[in-house]
Point group: C2
Chain length 217, copies 2
Amino acid sequence: MTPTITAFERSPDGGKGLARDMRVRWALEEVGQPYDVRLVSFSEMKEPAHLALHPFGQIPTYEEGDLALFESGAIVLHIAERHAGLLPDDANARARAITWMFAALTTMEPPIVDREVAKLLEGDETWYEQRLPVLEERVRDRMGQLSRRLGDADWLDGEFSAADLLMVSVLLRLKRSGMLGQYTNLSAYVARGEARPAYKRAFDAQLAVFTAAFTGR
Amino acid sequence: MTPTITAFERSPDGGKGLARDMRVRWALEEVGQPYDVRLVSFSEMKEPAHLALHPFGQIPTYEEGDLALFESGAIVLHIAERHAGLLPDDANARARAITWMFAALTTMEPPIVDREVAKLLEGDETWYEQRLPVLEERVRDRMGQLSRRLGDADWLDGEFSAADLLMVSVLLRLKRSGMLGQYTNLSAYVARGEARPAYKRAFDAQLAVFTAAFTGR
């Protein structure tokens, strides 16, 4: 059965692959599972039909027969559990990979998002110049810890897994900030993720949506 | 094999059960799995021995034979996967419960933590009075959405699960703010969680650690 995911009709990131449907697309491409996409506008996301699928009115959602899921982390885990290629077979290695999936979303991503939100919503406030260094320090603390743990390994724990997929996706949010470039091994790690054929297919697919929205196709 | 978790030697919450070891203790109590606790001080958490277990220098960690995990969400999921009682047997219901686990930690908790952090670190800043309503509005948006979805159900999706364990734990952070009391069904939901015998056993265990630290026992 072909699953259907939702994505922004017009992604606020301008097709840079930072919206959270990208993580799900990437996972589906890694395991070779074709999928359908239903695009939703910002107003549709707040309507009852979409809220029935996603109580917080966001994207992505994932529908597969009777099953409806939300939360990109949970969807990626669901895909990884039902297909080979995104989680190790060994039970302990699998538990460690899931640990890193949570680490990406609950330890690394929140300070990165906080910095973005402050820039977006408080960039013109008088206190912004004072808060920014504090917010960046929190991001750098996490990046330093992650950089030390990764060392010169290719991936977080053995082979590429759903953990790397999520961690690379989270770190990509920092690409334009200049902060990623300060950690050579993390930059190389992100580049390894972006070089994967499945990443490229997913990226092209989300970019095509954005481009189509602006050419009226 | 009895697992060992780590917890704060002196929890900054003063034994109110808000530190993240509480979630793991609660899960272990729900499934009836005895466990050992190793207490760590704030300085020990930043030392190489602890960083080898937890690259971000936090608690809790979880050790079981050769397996070492961190991230409370991942640990609770690990416990729920290996024991009966915290996840439904039906595959779709199980995937939905995992979705709500991620929702608790990645959608609900970050704005709640942001409000706490601002209060703690920026409470004396000139801009705090201006930022606080914005931060509280973000929390209320999420609470309103969660409240509408929960409706008059006892738990998020059928029987009590690891999803409720995490969601109740996250909402408990708001108890002293007065915000929780504004949502009758969410208050009752949290109270149902706190009334569970396993919650009480876990709460008493973490409180005993805090009390012992201050009586020199």
